[in-house]
């Protein structure tokens, strides 16, 4: 996105009163269902999370309230960070798989051959390593 004059905070944290950090609402600015729904899915896959949900406060404002409640006393920032990192991992893997799948046919078969050759070299090194160990 184009840089604006002053930078607005992209993320704010609002803690519920009477809790000790395991129950937090994050306010994400300039976001919508694109990040909200996918991040909610990744955070829900975390077994430490008791509750996770998001809502768009008003359709005219582009900000979402993202709430995480954890079991026990784990700070809610941890599953949030893990969810973001996991989402990055998913997207990177999808991108890699997609790029390989869309390569032209000759390039793809060349890459497969390369992979096969390195596999053979690795297994040879591993075998010779085991051989040395048994001899010693």
């Amino acid at each position: 996105m184009a840089e604006s004059g002053e930078r607005k905070a992209a993320l704010e944290m609002v803690q519920a009163d009477g809790t000790d950090g395991n129950c937090v609402t994050f306010v994400l600015h300039d976001e919508d269902h694109t990040l909200g729904n996918s991040l909610r899915y990744m955070v829900m896959k975390n077994p430490d999370v008791e509750f996770c949900g998001y809502c768009i406060t008003h359709p005219s404002e582009s900000k979402i309230n993202f709430r995480i409640q954890t079991r026990g006393s784990l700070p809610a920032v941890e599953p949030f960070r893990k969810g973001l990192n996991d989402l990055m991992g998913v997207c990177q893997h999808v991108l890699d798989t997609f790029e390989v799948r869309l390569l032209p046919e000759e390039l793809r078969s060349f890459l497969d051959q390369e992979r096969q050759r390195t596999f053979d070299a690795e297994s040879l090194i591993a075998f010779s390593g085991i051989l040395c160990l048994t001899l010693v």
Partner: protein
């Protein structure tokens, strides 16, 4: 065994009932199903995930993503529509427009024309910058004048014969390099994606002389920057025939689906339908 099968169906299948769709929401989160480990595991995801390209043509790409949840697939769809940058005409400097198309309508139409230019070669224009520099602007010119054809037959009423240049197409837009763009892009061929987009109609004596500045933008800002005509996804259907169907009923069943989905097999003289292909080419 039946309980496990129905549990798997709850977890993995969306069911089309008579009056609505059931099992739509993702429920395989940790803790929902005893005996299943649903926590996120990157390795398990990588092993199960694959991409199969169904159709790849000039302007169409259709592919299957297996092993990914609808939430992520939908996020990709939304990003394709709204956040992938392209170049499009933003400012139109009208030097002369004596055509019947008003200036602002003409500018609107020019903005919607897709431009063949890799947006990664350009920067975003700074906010408040009216002039634009060579790293963020692409300049096009459209200069065309309609004249009468002196060789036309006297009684003809076909405009193609009577006039020169009476239809203004996108192929009449020419790239005007700014600054050092000729050195930066020596082999570049910046032009509209399609040559046959009709912009305006002219009659003798009318002319259009405009200069256009293209900038980089995203679909969230204005739909003209959206690189895709449409991006959609659907869940892969899984059809199971619950009751045996024979002979004429089999043919009626085949007609209910898109061609290619059901094929009729001839077993021992009677005709049985079998699900052949889940994603037929036509649909």
């Amino acid at each position: 065994m039946a309980a496990k099968r129905s549990m798997d169906e709850l977890r993995e299948r969306v069911v089309l009932g008579e009056f609505g769709v059931r099992n739509v929401h993702t429920t395989d989160f940790p803790g929902n199903y005893p005996g299943y480990d649903d926590a996120w595991d990157q390795r398990r995801f990588e092993e199960a995930f694959r991409v199969d390209v169904v159709r790849e043509e000039d302007g169409v790409l259709e592919f299957d993503m297996v092993g990914i949840d609808a939430a992520i697939a939908n996020a990709f769809r939304r990003i394709l529509l709204a956040e992938v940058p392209t170049m499009a005409v933003e400012k139109v400097f009208v030097y002369n427009n004596t055509s019947i198309v008003q200036d602002e309508i003409l500018a609107h139409r020019l903005g919607l024309i897709p431009i063949r230019a890799d947006p990664r070669l350009f920067e975003y224009r700074n906010q408040g910058d009216e002039e634009g520099t060579e790293i963020d602007t692409l300049q096009f010119q459209l200069k065309i004048k309609c004249s009468r054809n002196p060789q036309a037959a006297k009684e003809s009423s076909d405009p193609n014969e009577l006039y020169f240049n009476h239809k203004v197409y996108s192929k009449h837009m020419t790239w005007v390099p700014l600054g050092n763009q000729t050195d930066l892009f020596p082999d570049a061929d910046f032009r509209p994606v399609h040559d046959d987009i009709l912009i305006a109609l002219l009659r003798p004596g009318q002319e259009i002389d405009v200069l256009m500045h293209c900038v980089k933008g995203i679909g969230k800002d204005h739909a003209k920057f959206s690189p895709v005509a449409t991006a959609s996804y659907r869940l892969l259907p899984d059809i199971t025939l619950l009751q045996p169907v024979e002979d004429e009923a089999a043919e009626t069943l085949q007609k209910c689906f898109s061609p290619g989905v059901i094929e009729i097999q001839n077993i021992k003289g009677t005709f049985f339908p079998a699900v052949k292909c889940l994603v037929p080419n036509k649909s």
